[in-house]
């Protein structure tokens, strides 16, 4: 991460703008125990009250780090019932990082947010159709499979 991902200007600009970034060595107690750290690099996204909403383990190249953190931010909004804010972040993943590993989950979560926001099932069905068309082999397409039956 230090050699490849963190020096990238796009990554620097994104992190400095979007989050408060904290670097912790794996042997730092008690924080590593508090987060049940078992392997590095481990990236954890928390809300401003310190509650965890996403964690990833393993190296992320620059083109994957930004959409991964964006997904964590979207999950933060989702968990806080801020569905409109979550959709804005998910739309950014789908417009700017459509080929990233985070994109299929972003499609799924956008469908769920759309439903939670309106109680209209159409966004769920649209999410399945988009996943089937764009990411047919993704696990998220399988998870959305029941939505194909919605009216």
């Amino acid at each position: 991460m230090d050699a490849v991902t963190y020096p990238k200007g796009e990554v620097v600009e994104f992190l400095n703008k979007a989050v408060i970034s904290l670097r912790v060595p794996s042997d730092a107690k008690p924080l590593s125990d508090d987060f049940n750290l078992k392997w590095t690099p481990m990236l954890v996204v928390l809300d401003w009250n310190g509650k965890e909403h996403q964690r990833t383990v393993g190296f992320l190249p620059p083109e994957e780090l930004i959409p991964s953190v964006l997904l964590g931010i979207a999950k933060t909004h989702f968990d806080l019932d801020q569905f409109g804010d979550a959709i804005k972040v998910l739309d950014r993943i789908l417009s700017d990082y459509a080929g990233s590993s985070a994109a299929p989950e972003a499609v799924f979560l956008k469908g769920v947010c759309g439903y939670k926001n309106t109680h209209n099932p159409t966004p769920l069905k649209e999410a399945y159709e988009k996943l089937q068309a764009t990411f047919p082999a993704s696990e998220w397409t399988k998870r959305a499979l029941p939505y194909r039956l919605l009216p």
Partner: protein
């Protein structure tokens, strides 16, 4: 913005900044070698 990531090194300070700015926190646990 500068050309390096503005890393915090203390959790309490990070939490206080996050609450003030209403921003999420990213923690990077790394192997110091």
């Amino acid at each position: 913005m500068g050309n390096t990531i503005q890393w915090e090194t203390d959790y309490a300070t990070t939490l206080k900044k996050a609450q003030t700015d209403k921003k999420p926190i990213l923690i990077d646990f790394f192997n110091p070698g």
